[in-house]
Symmetry: D2
Subunit: 377 residues, 4 copies
């Protein structure tokens, strides 16, 4: 069962509400002897942190992470390493502005989870969205930072490839550019356009959706657990579980439906070390639920932020008519900050599948993926 | 862990290879006292069965299901009912033509799982695709037939909404039409077009992809288990786990990314029994991972069948160059028979989430979904 | 998978080391709308707290619990209630005396987990036993306090029934007496004897084992999930997972092996509301893995504390001979403080099985156990 | 969740009722490339098979096992090997005497699960005990035969060490003797005594309990997953889940409670390859939930068979008084056939823990347990 736990062998259990004392997670199943300190996790958190540009929420959260357990100094190397016991990570909530919630506590904001939490649980922590707040994704990013450490040789990067109806131009794709603009856009020209575009939307109190692409390179062939723990199925769940996501694609995704078999088949030619070289990657690095060794390519669609200034028709929890608009701090395009979250989810899925492969297949099948060892990580 | 098990409380474990003695599944966690006989399961299997038109594979499998356990005659009603113990379902493989596999056993068919199974496990049952064959989905359909029985008042229907690059015309949508053509198309005109289109492709030995839409009506609000067991996340995993699926959408899906917040928000007005009436359904019936009570709408993209006549470049498992083409029985559009499979997966997810809701919330929150009882089902 | 998670639907994940910053747990799956405040959890923790008499370790830990998430004020009643989201509980470690660990860090104390943690993980937090310290059981007791809240009408009590080779006299059993002596003994005379006995052992720097009995009254018939989630099987795992436990019994336990069928069968006579009345309880309240409605009776054996003054032969982690003795704070009979821990584990198992029953059977079978509702709890 | 599934990574799901068409299991997670044929499984099943002496039930079941999936011929060696996909095993029920069940169907036999299944599920397959029949354990033994194959170098043997109140004499322990008498007694003199003793009980229509001991040699140090997946906790659940078991012990078990710390601590001296040599084994091969490398020793108590000729007071399912006695085929000491079942459960736990260890720790910590490889197994 997995209400608030993600993963099977690399298990992440998150907790916490937006305006409670703290959020955090417990990571269970992490291998021992992996160098890990808080600064590495903090570096990933800082990429997701709010308030870094005028295009994200102005909530001021330092998102400072503390490691409460599961690490110890290895006196042989002087480094802090994992011990194989659960790693608890804590992020205190700091910017919980005390404010008047009377407007929000009884009203169901359209597009939000207000109504569904209330109808399911009979109560909800309405302050800042409570458990359904995107703030929970900070815990995912922290866990993802740990997951990356057990994937030697794998590079997981994400980029925003569409904002509203405006896609980037893929011929201008530059991974370095992703670090240089506040949108994680790999296309500098698109980034310049998004700046004006989002400023305009922000001033109107409106919002817009986005499409994010995550690419994992260096994934060895053989990861994935058919039939129901397929690599692509778990990626789909992982990405769809991110707040506001409405669609997921692997490789060509929906475009594959329009292709003929001849177009879609990724041809192969003999490659290195007995492994085939693929001549294309329509499959996005997955066949039969198992990685092929090609780059893993997945995309997800984020709906526009539901918090907008324009009043929308709604009801109160007493069944009365009401119009709702949202003032105050919010992300005009919540898809932007979803980029590091998407990376983190892919990292968690790959770490989990790596441990699953190691459990079932181990060394009994020669495998072109060096075993994780302290020296490597 | 879930290599071959799907679901948490309504758990389905499938087994079997395409050309082994049998395929089947064990359903664990099914509530007791639900009337169930083999004929009900058979009716669903017959919808997926191969060889029913010239547009699907000509393999002749009766797909006759036997119930091996978990049911017993209720002497009070004379009906056979579930007992709460595991329900084992067996489907023997009948049409395993003995043939020469020398062409296939050492060659990696592009787009197939041949290479990935071999690289992962060091061996594969190459006859008819073995475990990675779409034949495994018969077990899913059988399980889905049982899942439907524990969802009183819920109607789950699927339709093919695009074949190759050709979508249906949604203004002509007619659920009754879905039963009348061999494509599960809700648009009679599109069905007529598909007939010619697919005949042409079939004669060329080619293949094409498809998009399938599943709609579940009567789903009560409150189903779903945030954060990682969200209803939409589990649907995404369920649908992506079907053979050849490359994309999944909930509600507006990828189109939502292009919308502004004002367009995407589903407004509400007071409805019956204190429940809101939604004025639109961009969300596809899910907010915050929990059902809203609106129809649940999801879509998935199926890639073109990888078995085609046109030779494609590939390698053998010894690393030698080879060209591969596939003769013999195959589905030119494997998406067609994916319709009942998609319905079954949605049914399994909903049954599981229903039991999860019953576990955590039970009667402690008044809920507009009558408790399952023998009388109702 | 469950390295550090206990339970299926009422899931408790614990974390933390004895001398790290904090220990704690995350409870996932708790039903919503259950009144819960920290004071209720604290009351249980105080029963297990060290340093309350001269017969337990003199470590001074206030064991103050904080609720980090999962509760919210119900404005209808003014009470704080659960919200259905994960409940994170934190207990900071306060009395981590900074001391010289050079004696312990390289030596394997006989009977301790020093060697096995080292051989498994390659590293261990040696301060106070780290993760293998009995300190972890504080998190279990906290979780058990929450579990009790979802079991209306069930009373779970424990007692020490044997210390070293000295059993209590069952004819003097008095539940009230359990609260009055520092040993949780239900027999006042035995308690008086234990006082002298343990003082003597303590002064010799020795230790002794114990047998604990837990009785749960008010458990309705029907709880348990055959075949592998049987109520007694889960109790056995729960109790055996407590530090230093070497044996578990249900009902007559090992004594049942010596009985004849006529003696062991618990006869029945018609009782109230169509339920049978049992004339004896050799079964300890479980038949076929399902509760009978009789009191649930289980016992567990705790080995003597391994920390003793008498030097014992051992090795260092470099393979050198060494003699080890343990100075400083320790429990001469660790079984004493295991009483509230055993109660907590039984509460967690029952809460989990209750939710499992509610999931699979719900209201479809009339059941003599009132549904949990806010009013009841 | 685990109603009918046992294990986490080596997962066994059993199904079937005593008098239904078949019983069986699905094993998921078995590593690939392990030589396996039906004869090996059959050999284990034959040890548990009823009707082999006058001391077990006279039901005549050939218990012939069929492998339905998960194996394939490895053309390199000509041997049938596992493929990494689920292994389904089927055992058809043959000796289902058609008989009159009117005596049993409405009466609750004392000590049986009749009442508890009925009160929980509202219905039960009463023929031969249905799902609660010891017949289910045949599926466990079959799964155990597969589990043994992935534990190179580990020897798992069981013996009956007490029948009724009569223990064996441990000084006469001879593992070879276990094969030579129908009681699995390691003490030839005790076996001779049991023959007369059980003949007398059988003629009286009575029954008696037993204690079984399982010893696993060659278990490497490091197996076990603290805190809640401890090796001893999982063994306790595994053994307690066997029909009629009421107690479980590891190492000294309940006797440990009577010891002082000095007596109980297993001292160590430097051994081979840097591993310590233990000077005693009170711990039964487990410290802190992790194996020490010493022999794993566990015991379980089996209550007397509940089916006896002497009438016992009971009720019908309509609440009427009735006296019940059981005629016909039954085991006078069901503990005898529990010996191979206990071995199988220990094998399954060890296989599961081995895969868990391989997942979390892999090669990152040097481990004195050769990796499983096709050559070894």
């Amino acid at each position: 069962m997995s209400h608030n736990t993600f993963g099977h062998l690399f298990r992440v259990t998150t907790f916490g509400e937006s305006h409670g004392p703290a959020i955090g997670c417990v990571i269970d199943g992490c291998p021992p002897m992996i160098p890990l300190d808080a600064a590495e996790i903090q570096a990933e958190l800082d990429r997701r942190k709010p308030g870094q540009s005028r295009f994200t929420t102005q909530r001021r959260e330092p998102d400072e992470v503390k490691i409460l357990s599961g690490v110890f100094a290895d006196e042989r190397t002087g480094r802090q390493v994992t011990t194989g016991t659960p790693i608890a990570l804590l992020i205190e909530n700091v910017d919980q502005r005390s404010k008047d919630y009377s407007e929000i506590k009884d009203r169901y904001r359209p597009g939000h989870a207000d109504f569904t939490y209330d109808v399911k649980y009979g109560i909800r922590d309405y302050r800042g969205g409570g458990r359904s707040s995107a703030r929970e994704t900070a815990a995912r990013v922290a866990a993802g930072a740990v997951a990356r450490k057990i994937l030697p040789g794998v590079t997981i990067r994400g980029a925003l490839v569409q904002m509203g109806p405006h896609p980037i131009n893929r011929s201008r794709w530059d991974w370095d550019e992703v670090q240089r603009n506040p949108f994680f856009s790999p296309d500098a020209e698109a980034a310049a356009f998004y700046e004006d575009y989002l400023d305009r939307l922000r001033k109107e109190g409106s919002s817009v959706g986005a499409v994010i692409e995550i690419v994992a390179e260096g994934v060895p062939p053989g990861l994935g657990a058919p039939i129901y723990g397929k690599l692509d199925a778990e990626l789909a769940a992982a990405l769809m579980s991110i707040n506001a996501v409405k669609g997921v694609e692997i490789g060509d995704g929906f475009a594959a439906a329009a292709l003929r078999g001849e177009e879609n088949a990724d041809e192969m030619r003999p490659g290195n070390a007995g492994m085939p070289t693929f001549l294309s990657n329509h499959a996005g690095g997955v066949l039969g639920g198992i990685s092929t060794g090609q780059p893993l390519v997945c995309r997800f669609a984020v709906k526009p932020t539901s918090s907008i200034l324009t009043p929308r028709a709604s009801v109160t929890r007493f069944g009365e008519e009401v119009d709702v608009s949202t003032r105050g701090r919010h992300d005009p395009c919540v898809g932007i900050r979803a980029v590091p979250v998407g990376e983190a989810m892919v990292a968690c899925v790959l770490a989990d599948q790596y441990l699953r492969h190691r459990a079932q297949v181990g060394q009994s099948v020669p495998w072109p993926f060096g075993e994780l060892s302290p020296a490597q990580s």
